[in-house]
């Protein structure tokens, strides 16, 4: 446990320069945009005179040099202040915190579903490499891996929401239903079935493939032969020896895919009109709200770092050899 904490501490410190690169890089990328938030705002209210523009630029500090503003941004970041969204006329951190839970439900359920089903099916496929069952699952996972998630979302909603009417087409919960507690939870879960399935499939296929490949690798190792020689049952060998050792690469893959799952939720939230973090990114693009987009990118980078820390902890828990010594990244 102490080792694990040390590991987390070291990870946190080493991620600071990386996050700094993200902030500075994003800042200069968004500097390239023609016009700023004030221009976008003036257009949205139907035009204004030069004095108003000037005054607004002063209020938001947009009249200063880029380096000054970068410094201001970095210092306010230390106070968890991400600036002001001109488009929404609200503090950016509030907007993001308000939208994050919906994205967490979506991402968390999709990741959980993909991980559990992917690993189980991977064990089924990897238990007998080359068997008909393995072939079917391998081909199936390849096909699943090739389906664009937003298109899968549309197809699922055509079939299950429009035709069969089993699930709602959009939203995160029934609007103004006044539901609370368990009823509200079930309502949200009901709304999330289709988007979670659409987002999870590609990762399910990925985890299946990694698990199967890992098992194929472990089957060749000496301790498996030893376990066979001891006369252990096949079931026990598959689960306790092979699958257990093949699980580690899948956990690593989970951390590697955190950024991609977050990116995928942007499109899925748009397909199912879920008011989450990803949809906020799309709204920021539509409103040309550069500071909001910047805040979203910075927060998503922090989230990915946090997910990777959790994955590291899980990894250290599963594999006692890790902990004191650094895992090669």
């Amino acid at each position: 446990m102490k080792n694990a904490l040390k590991l987390i501490g070291r990870r946190a410190i080493s991620s600071i320069p990386v996050l700094l690169i993200v902030v500075i890089g994003t800042f200069f990328l968004l500097e390239l945009a023609p016009g700023d938030a004030v221009d976008a705002y003036i257009v949205s209210i139907g035009g204004g005179d030069a004095a108003l523009t000037e005054q607004l630029r002063q209020t938001y500090g947009l009249d200063q040099s880029p380096l000054n503003r970068l410094w201001l941004y970095l210092t306010s970041l230390l106070r968890f202040d991400l600036g002001w969204s001109v488009g929404f006329n609200r503090p950016i951190i509030d907007l993001i915190l308000e939208r994050l839970p919906n994205t967490f439900y979506l991402m968390g359920s999709a990741t959980g579903l993909a991980f559990v089903l992917g690993t189980v099916l991977g064990i089924v496929a990897g238990a007998r490499i080359g068997s008909p069952r393995d072939r079917v699952l391998s081909i199936g996972s390849l096909a699943l891996y090739a389906i664009p998630n937003f298109w899968l979302g549309l197809v699922l909603s055509i079939v299950f929401a429009v035709q069969l009417r089993w699930f709602p087409t959009s939203g995160i919960e029934t609007i103004a239903s006044g539901k609370e507690g368990l009823a509200r939870f079930l309502d949200i879960a009901w709304h999330l079935v289709l988007p979670v399935s659409a987002l999870a499939m590609i990762y399910l296929a990925l985890f299946l493939r990694v698990m199967r490949a890992g098992m194929a690798e472990v089957w060749r190792q000496d301790f498996v032969r030893a376990a066979r020689a001891k006369g252990l049952s096949r079931r026990r060998i598959v689960l306790r020896h092979v699958a257990r050792n093949a699980l580690l690469p899948v956990v690593t893959m989970l951390g590697l895919q955190a950024a991609s799952i977050l990116g995928g939720s942007v499109v899925i939230e748009s397909v199912f009109a879920i008011p989450g973090f990803g949809r906020l990114a799309q709204e920021a693009v539509a409103m040309r709200d550069a500071p909001l987009l910047m805040g979203i990118i910075v927060v998503s980078a922090v989230l990915v770092v946090l997910v990777n820390m959790i994955v590291d902890l899980v990894y250290a828990f599963l594999d006692p050899r890790v902990g004191a010594s650094e895992r090669s990244s």
Partner: protein, 276 residues
């Protein structure tokens, strides 16, 4: 020649090759098969597929030929997919080679930049990049490559770390070759094969990212893409779902073809390693 034969012996690779070859010929012949702008109105709106012989796959809600769009869309998907992967592999292998070969502070600095690109969701980065620089084909290609070059960079670096200790690199050093020349002319070409095996996965990812970007309306507005066709069909999802389903099937076929082709490449390269 034997490398080709090894590829031909992998059934996945052959199937993938046939799919990609078909797609590429369709894409190349698009201006001949369907001359004129695929975005122009060609007939009555919302003709269902397989009913009118002059529009085998029907028309969309503005009366544009779906089959013409599909064929022209193949060009956009393939161009973006291949170009983005090329740029990503090029940037990635150069950065990876330099980092692995230089070592020390340069390695440390370059790898932190790789880390930074890896913790930002590639799709979000592409979204920001395209929205800042206005959507056009080259910008979309660059935006996708920005999120995809870190994989090749890491792989190239790992390869270089093992290659740079070999004898021929030491001899190049002894005859007084410039370190940069050694890195780019001696080490990089030898580090490339495993990176190339990864490129099929990158092409597939790029095709999917391009589709998602144009689905969200961030593709080049002047060309027809499968993503924009799917987005178009959304407006009439209830009455004419085929408009969104057809281009999606084309996407799935392209990506499956690319993955299978990649498996063939991997089989080809891994068998070579066993021989040496």
């Amino acid at each position: 020649m034997s490398a080709l034969r090894r590829f031909a012996r992998s059934p996945e690779g052959v199937v993938g090759f046939v799919i990609l070859l078909t797609l590429a010929s369709v894409a190349l012949l698009a201006p001949v098969l369907f001359p004129g702008d695929p975005l122009r109105i060609a007939g009555a709106p919302l003709i269902p597929p397989f009913t009118d012989p002059s529009f085998p796959l029907g028309t969309d809600r503005l009366g544009r030929d779906v089959l013409a769009g599909l064929v022209h869309g193949a060009r956009a998907s393939l161009i973006v997919g291949i170009a983005a992967a090329l740029v990503a592999v090029l940037i990635g292998s150069i950065v990876g080679t330099l980092a692995g070969f230089a070592g020390g502070l340069i390695d440390e600095a370059l790898m932190r930049v790789v880390d930074a690109f890896q913790i930002v969701p590639g799709f979000l980065l592409a979204l920001a990049f395209v929205s800042v620089l206005q959507p056009s084909l080259p910008i979309v290609i660059l935006a996708i490559a920005l999120g995809a070059w870190t994989g090749p960079a890491r792989l190239a670096r790992a390869e270089v770390l093992s290659i740079r200790e070999r004898d021929y690199v030491a001899s190049a050093r002894i005859i007084g070759m410039h370190p940069l020349e050694i890195a780019l002319r001696e080490v990089l070409p030898n580090a490339l094969p495993p990176v190339l095996a990864l490129s099929a996965v990158i092409v597939a990812g790029a095709v999917l990212t391009e589709a998602a970007l144009s689905f969200l309306g961030l593709g080049d507005p002047n060309i027809v893409t499968w993503g924009s066709m799917i987005a178009e069909g959304r407006a009439v999802l209830r009455s004419a779902p085929y408009l969104s389903i057809i281009p999606g099937l084309a996407l799935v076929a392209t990506v499956v073809g690319t993955y299978l082709f990649g498996e063939g490449l991997t089989a080809m390269l891994s068998r070579r390693e066993q021989h040496s």
